[in-house]
């Protein structure tokens, strides 16, 4: 396995931001007031259909956010494992997949430095 957790966590932070944006847009769509039309059919279709789309968008935004959080958590677990072992990046998968290397393939920064970097990226700084 070859993974640079801080960079992956930074990607996750961007993804979470995208998910929040999608949530916001979905909420805006959800909040649009109903429109009545003379025959009523189109207004009813809008009243029914637009919230359905907004709900689905919010749901998929949640799934995107969840994936980003899961990957973030995974990266933190990788860091924890390495902080204890003092070895380069790796984790359960690394034991199966091959070389346990950080980006650059060689000397990794001290575990504490990496943990700080991950925490910073995770907080969206």
């Amino acid at each position: 396995m070859n993974i640079d957790p801080p960079m992956v966590v930074a990607t996750c932070t961007r993804l979470r931001s995208r998910a929040e944006d999608a949530h916001r847009v979905a909420a805006e769509v959800q909040g649009l007031p109903a429109v009545s039309t003379p025959a009523g059919a189109f207004g009813a279709a809008l009243t029914r259909g637009v919230p359905a789309l907004a709900t689905a968008a919010a749901g998929h935004a949640r799934l995107l956010e969840q994936t980003a959080r899961d990957v973030e958590r995974y990266c933190h677990e990788v860091i924890e494992v390495d902080a204890e072992s003092g070895h380069a990046f790796g984790g359960p998968e690394g034991q199966l997949g091959g070389a346990q290397l950080g980006m650059g393939g060689g000397v990794a920064p001290p575990p504490e430095a990496r943990k700080r970097a991950v925490a910073g990226a995770g907080e969206g700084r």
């Binding site: 992956v8 993804l15 999608a22 649009l32 025959a39 809008l46 789309l53 968008a57 749901g59 998968e93």
Partner: protein, 523 residues
């Protein structure tokens, strides 16, 4: 995600579906009528403004989703990275499609607003003209002479208007002209609303996505074992005898490669571990006991599916024999769905008997038990399963779900088909014909029984299939193809590989994610 689902009697008789068809959307066949006062009071500018809001929101959703798709996990090189990326892409593709749908609703709303605006202008002018002539305008648009003239008409025993006294003959043609104009305007509004409502109904016929369930990219420590059948490996994960559900996954092109075998095994281990964590007893069998096509070109031929079908039928019979109480969920992925279709439409005679009693296709002795001592009775025709699912299918060698001979415990097999947005497999099949048969996600393939409202697939599986297919289903099917084209144009070419990482597919296999209080061991 495009989807179709059906529950049908086992006998494949041309009977009705088991469950009642979903109620037609209220917008379908609506008898709502517009009135003059209603039209004059309508807010076309407001609708136009709403259209603008929706257009901006749709654009924002699409832009955000496209950006998310580009946020690739480049600093990560491992199998888990691929699964994580597929999950991100899955959500992003869905958001792109929803953004496009919101934009589509905006376009429709704009068109209806313009129709309303034109009609309102016409009606306002007509009403003004009528009132200036002291004519009476009725809500339905008909225009009549003033009450005094009507009284005169009654007094003259209902003589026609041209017989009015001098000075009044102009009322007749004026009333007729104004009535025709107002009614035409109201008819325009009703037509615009009805077609607009149908379009919005199709655009918004979407399923609510599943609730997120915890997921880990890393491989859980779940053992699986391999049964080396004469035709290739069959991996078993979980306890077959204790399982409530046994899922059989049949993969497609290139699935005979060792990497693919490892990949499906890893998926099975994750799924079983997830099920265990949720207190569910699930076993997964990954079927690689056939020589899968090595390329898309080879996959045009049904030969590999024909070869695999008897082995799969035997496997399913053995699974039923091993655990008669378990629900058998047979899933064909990509070309694997052709294999499942071949198993469900073929018979022992047609798929193996012709090749001699001493061995099956390719010299494989399909009588060899895969899962233990022999004893399973392989049905003469069709395949043992309670649920059949097709993922990213190019066709299943059947024109409808009714042609699939599926032996369910209770006689009611459920057939489902899914296609993720942007799946290139959609280029290989159509609702009428395809590389291996009509598109299983098309509305005509499956009856509507178990389909969710958004993906309802009316049309019986037997004769007359499609006669009752409704506008919303076909509209949604057509719109999904538009979304596919949009995603292809934006560089999404790999979604066919994403099914086993898709949260919606997880839910299809495992059911809804438990809430926190439902988690085993929750305190």
């Amino acid at each position: 995600m495009s989807g179709a689902s059906a529950t049908r009697p086992e006998a494949a008789a041309p009977g009705p579906s088991v469950a009642p068809a979903p109620a037609a959307p209220p917008s379908q066949g609506s008898t709502a009528t517009a009135t003059v006062d209603g039209l004059l009071a309508s807010d076309a500018p407001g609708l136009r403004s709403r259209s603008q809001n929706l257009a901006e929101s749709g654009s924002q959703l699409r832009d955000g989703a496209n950006a998310a798709r580009e946020d690739a996990f480049t600093a990560w090189d491992a199998p888990a990275r691929e699964r994580a990326q597929h999950r991100v892409d899955s959500s992003a593709n869905q958001l792109s499609g929803l953004g496009l749908s919101v934009s589509g609703v905006a376009v429709v709303a704009r068109a209806v607003a313009e129709a309303l605006s034109v009609a309102r202008t016409v009606v306002a002018a007509g009403v003004a003209a009528a009132r200036s002539a002291h004519l009476v305008v009725h809500p339905n648009g008909s225009v009549e002479p003033p009450p005094g003239v009507l009284a005169l008409e009654r007094a003259t025993s209902g003589l026609p208007l041209p017989a009015y006294p001098a000075g009044m003959p102009l009322f007749a043609p004026l009333c007729a002209a104004l009535s025709a104009t107002l009614r035409a305007a109201l008819a325009l509004v009703e037509a615009a609303e009805a077609s607009g409502a149908a379009a919005v109904g199709a655009l918004s016929a979407v399923d609510a996505p599943p609730a997120p369930r915890a997921w880990t990219p890393q491989r859980p420590a779940r053992p699986s074992r391999t049964v080396y059948s004469p035709a290739g490996p069959v991996n078993v994960t979980g306890d077959l005898r204790a399982a409530e559900t046994i899922i059989t996954l049949v993969s497609g092109v290139n699935s005979s490669d060792q990497g693919a075998v490892y990949g499906t095994q890893e998926w099975a281990e994750q799924l079983v571990a997830q099920a265990e964590a949720e207190g569910k007893r699930v076993a997964v069998v990954t079927f690689h006991a056939y020589t899968a096509p090595g390329s898309v070109a080879e996959a045009v031929s049904p030969a590999a599916a024909t070869q695999a079908a008897p082995v799969l039928r035997q496997l399913q019979a053995e699974l039923r024999n091993v655990n008669p109480d378990a629900q058998l969920h047979l899933t064909g992925y990509s070309y694997g769905s052709v294999v499942v279709g071949a198993a469900a439409t073929g018979s022992q005679d047609s798929t193996s008997g012709a090749r001699g009693a001493s061995g099956g296709p390719g010299g494989v002795d399909i009588r060899s038990p895969l899962l233990g001592p022999a004893g399973a009775r392989v049905p003469d025709h069709g395949v043992d399963a309670d649920r059949v699912t097709f993922l990213g299918s190019p066709g299943v060698q059947a024109h409808s779900s009714g042609e699939l001979d599926i032996h369910a415990k209770d006689g009611n097999a459920e057939v489902s088909a899914f296609r993720v947005p942007g799946d290139l497999i959609g280029l290989t099949t159509t609702p009428w014909l395809g590389a291996h048969g009509p598109d299983p996600v098309s509305p005509d393939f499956a009856p509507p029984a178990a389909a969710p409202p958004g993906n309802s697939v009316p049309g019986n599986s037997g004769p007359g299939a499609g006669e009752s297919s409704d506008t919303t289903s076909w509209g949604r099917y057509a719109w999904d193809r538009v979304v596919d084209a949009y995603l292809w144009a934006h560089g999404e070419w790999n979604s066919h590989s994403s099914y086993l990482s898709d949260p919606e597919i997880d839910e299809h296999f495992l059911g809804p994610a438990p809430t926190a209080t439902q988690q085993p061991g929750h305190r």
